[in-house]
Subunit: 655 residues, 2 copies
């Protein structure tokens, strides 16, 4: 019976780890009666595995079986369970005597032969996965580890799902030897002592398939039930996100709550049931976990209606924009008032005075906004889409009681339809002028120049959807002292460890191109090795300088880890102290409009705890295109990725 | 005028390095009058490069030109020289003020713009190459070096040949940033002090395009002529192998031998002319330098006549085989004699006695060799080809005066034609029986069992043409106490630095396959980071055990270098102390039948001087195939290459 979450319907697999068993069917029935749905069990019965008594020999490092020459069957017959039971009810374990890392050639040869035989049998049965013990007493550099890794790589090549139980450095070595194979997973065994939070985050970013929980990792509470410590609970909740198989091992203690393993299973099911259902943002993000997307090319492409609809639903972004516009209106009004008052009246007007003054002076005369007499503030929305920023502006105007004229500029003819309908249907839109066309070509003669320009042209990396070029291109539409919302934005970079994302990139095709492209992706199986640091900054209105940039960024690694590239984020100042951020350290809670960006590196590189990671990133502009180039500088130099934008660039031309 | 070798006709380019020049034609004529054929010259005249006086500023790290806004031409007109003169007579130099590694953004931007302009102009002119100074005062980790590397990478992407002048670590960083581009070369500047021999070997393995020789690197000999020290001479001779452009720089001293640079040029031409013509082996190898070949598949393929002809010409191999057969015949005869003599006659027969005894006892009776009465030694040649080992055996028989019966087994029906003709035509071949077929299938009933088996089934890595499997398969044809020639063979491995070979492998196609294949290649642009160490050993006749092997090999790097894979060699013991070797440390002089083997690694890895390089290599047998798997273990773990022989294996089936 699979444990099911009471509200979300999500499922959790809990099973029992059995070391030796007379009959698989009995073990499976016992597991089911404890509330479990699978058993983690050796596939080869010890009776078959060791047909002859082991003869410990001083010249070998472990007891070893003689070469296997026998006519009796390898193990129990596959008809003991139905095919469906093998596939859903059993996770296999390789025989414990098998030691492909042995320093004895005889043991190694016998182990390899037996390992191949058991892998073939597991494949024949169709079990979900096969758990292989880590080589005991073999350091990361032990000769045996390479042999162990090669044997696992061979098993993976034959299509088997393998989970390997081990400490991180050994795991990383085996993963590397197996070329980061998709079917290689991790069986994590918990103990009563847990590693540091940083180390746990590192584990969580790995491909955890099985979590083995000994009954000894539980404690007994005051009323006699087995429970987990707070830190264990936090870890289990973290692991729930990745839906591994939980396998309970060891012997049940004398606890309340039922026979045998049942209380342990029930507590785990209880923890799972207590998990809050996903937030709106989490529900939105779920399907995008680790899914690589090419960044939008908003100049070349026109967004579709459904895309607009999704982004308009963001519960945070437009609230922040509204507040930024409100503050900008008050600021603009108070500035205008201050310049209109005699200089001997100090201190300037209060916001309330400014609002009142603005209200009095703005009998909507409908004349051209450039007229000196008309002091109505002109707010220009660049890239208005279907109008969310127009609506935010109208709300800001209403709440501040500062009237505005809104000019909504949009290049997508399909979105123009929506805007013009809103202008016709909604009385609040009477002050809105809709302009169809590219903001960089629209002539200032067609409309009033803007006091405030509002845009949401930001990409995951801030400037990567060409906001700098678009806003620079619209300069002719703006007053010289225009207030830009956003006022500035800065991208951030952090070194990322994510074997999963690197494999996804590699899966996109041969050659360098996939590794010379940046991806928008909701990073799930990944961990940053250090906090993010600032990369590129743009301020608006700009001083007219180049939009090319170069940043050299450096970090100190918090844990030994493999760097697979860099995660990129942005922070934007909308106005004053109102901002939005997707940078993990300062992220706007609940805002889901942007996922991070991922800059891969072709060759992953190991960095030691406390070691330096250093990289360069260039933003280049030329030939009607904008692109990034990047290179790792420490701990190893990489090739410059995407030289001349050869694999990936953003076109400045309207589609 | 290009310097030409008096006997070989090989050519050497010597030129002059000019730092500033009023007129290119005059400089070219001056160079030609000194015996040179090119000049190394700035493409942009300083007059044009600095249109405005430089204004040194305390906030910048170097004087810098203002942004270039001008209407005067960039430099001299391209019609000053003919197109052919530009292409053959000029190697360009980038303007010395250009500093793309500057820490000042203004200098860097101006430098980048000027660099792009000069690269474009060099491409327009079609000059052979463009020399770019290394960034001054910028360590390997300097921020500017990454920018310098990116600029060069951009120039290479536009098709330019670039040579960069620099110390090795800087060079290696730039090469890595440029992704080991084929058009990136090295301009090596000699000084009067030379680095260590190990460091020179490392340089020699790089893509040296230009050697800049200041007149100050010469000394004046007792009679007043400019000459080079012995160490400089050795280096120059080493460099001659790679045919770089030699550019003389600096001012001529008051020396004998002519005006200006002429004596310096003449001395260099003299050294070149003194180079001995290539040996037969060198002449044979020349066309194969750094040319990757798939190893032979002798079981699946039949060699062609021309291939036999080439290998039969080896001046060393068959001489060694003849000596080994001679010693084996003497040994076999003395053994037979010893067993025939009463046990109280000690010491055994001398070789001469053995030869005499053999001669007396061998009235060629033509009866079956398995008859106890016939003591004629049966020598079986397995894989006889067109007969070179048969002839070596007959010569050994003649010189030792020990008669033999020779059985020549060959599977290639085309070679059988040659063998049968020789048996008919050559009276010396009257004792030769030709057997057509696979040695592993030939039945012992068709012929006598062998006392001595002679084969040359060795590949560059010893066992890699399946000698172990072939000889094991022929066991039924051999007496139990057979002498095998070769008696044993051992492969050797050394870590190899060769950016050239790695690039060649990458050029074979996308994906992992090219990097999971071993290549036979005459390594020219490559250097081993440490002496070779033993890998796999096979002894014949074998004990019937498995032919699978595993070796873990480790080295200490003599110099900081990049490891691009492993070079493989073999040593074979033919008989007693007679052997052949292609291992550099013990190589048989003049033997050209084998080039080394190259096992690439997908990701090159930097190893520090004194650091450890460690790798694993497995020889695997299964499913009618033999293959190698290999993995780097230190300084970084790599994926296991060629798991399950997925990219490369040797078939055990006869084609």
């Amino acid at each position: 019976m699979v444990v099911t979450h009471p509200t979300t319907g999500d499922q959790l697999n809990i099973g029992l780890d059995v070391t030796s068993l007379p009959r698989l069917r009995q073990a499976l029935e016992a597991a089911e009666s404890s509330g479990c749905d699978f058993v983690l069990a050796p596939l080869v019965h010890p009776r078959y595995a060791r047909p002859v008594e082991l003869t410990p020999s001083p010249s070998f490092d472990a007891p070893h079986p003689p070469p296997i020459v026998r006519s009796d069957p390898l193990t129990r017959s596959d008809v003991e369970l139905s095919s469906a039971e093998w596939q859903s009810g059993i996770i296999g374990k390789v025989s414990p005597w098998i030691n492909t890392a042995s320093s004895s050639p005889v043991v190694r040869a016998a182990s390899e032969a037996a390992f191949r035989e058991e892998v073939a049998y597991a494949t024949h049965l169709g079990v979900r996965a096969l758990v292989v013990d880590a080589p005991a007493g073999n350091g990361v550099r032990g000769a045996g580890l390479a042999n162990y890794g090669r044997c696992i790589a061979s098993a993976l090549a034959s299509g088997m799902q393998v989970a390997s139980v081990e400490p991180w450095a050994v795991w990383n070595t085996v993963r590397t030897l197996c070329d980061n194979h998709a079917n290689l997973g991790l069986a994590l065994e918990l103990s009563s002592e847990l590693p540091s939070p940083g180390a746990l985050d590192r584990w969580a970013a790995e491909a955890i398939r099985v979590v083995i929980m000994p009954t000894s990792s539980y404690v007994t509470n005051r009323v006699g039930y087995p429970v987990l410590s707070r830190r264990h609970q936090e870890l289990i909740k973290l692991l729930f996100k990745y839906r591994p198989f939980f396998a309970l091992s060891g012997r049940p203690a004398a606890v309340k709550g039922g026979d045998g393993m049942r209380p342990y299973v029930q507590y785990l099911a209880h923890l799972f049931g207590k998990q809050p259902p996903p937030s709106e943002a989490e529900a939105f993000e779920g399907p995008y976990y680790d899914y690589l997307q090419a960044p939008l090319q908003p100049l070349a492409d026109n967004l579709e209606s459904a895309t607009y609809e999704v982004f308009e639903r963001d519960p945070v972004k437009y609230e922040r924009y509204e507040e930024a516009v409100r503050q900008a209106l008050l600021h603009r009004t108070s500035m205008a008032l201050a310049s209109a008052l005699p200089p001997d009246i100090g201190g300037g007007p209060t916001p309330a005075e400014a609002a009142a003054a603005a209200e009095n002076g703005t009998a909507a005369d409908g004349t051209d906004g450039t007229s000196a007499k008309d002091s109505t503030i002109v707010v220009m929305v660049l890239g208005a889409g279907r109008g969310p920023l127009v609506r935010a502006t109208l709300r800001a105007s209403a709440s501040s009681r500062i009237p505005v004229r809104v000019v909504a500029v949009e290049k997508n003819p399909n979105a123009i339809v929506t805007l013009r309908n809103a202008a016709l249907d909604d009385p609040a839109w009477s002050c809105v002028t809709v302009v169809s066309g590219d903001m960089r070509c629209a002539s200032s003669s067609t409309t009033a120049r803007a006091d405030i320009v509002v845009s949401e042209l930001l990409g995951s990396f801030g400037d990567n959807e060409l906001s700098p070029e678009c806003l620079d291109g619209a300069a002719a539409l703006l007053k010289p002292d225009v207030i830009s919302i956003p006022a500035s934005y800065t991208s951030y970079l952090a070194p990322l460890s994510s074997a999963r994302l690197h494999r996804e990139v590699r899966g996109l095709g041969a050659g360098d191109t996939p590794f010379e492209t940046a991806y928008v992706v909701r990073i799930h199986k990944g961990v940053t090795a250090a906090p993010s640091v600032p990369a590129l900054t743009f301020v608006h209105p700009s001083d007219g300088g180049s939009n090319e940039r170069h940043v050299e960024a450096a970090w100190v690694a918090a844990e030994t880890n493999v760097i697979h590239g860099f995660a990129g984020y942005f922070e934007a100042v909308l106005f004053g102290d109102v901002g939005i951020s997707i940078r993990p350290e300062t992220a706007s809670l609940g805002m889901f409009s942007w996922f991070p960006i991922y800059f891969p590196v072709k060759t992953p590189v190991l960095v030691a705890k406390g070691g330096t990671v250093r990289m360069h990133l260039w933003r280049r502009v030329g030939g009607g295109r904008v692109w990034y180039e990047w290179a790792l500088a420490e701990p190893a130099v990489s090739a410059v990725h995407n030289v001349g934008g050869k694999s990936y660039s953003l076109g400045l031309t309207t589609g």
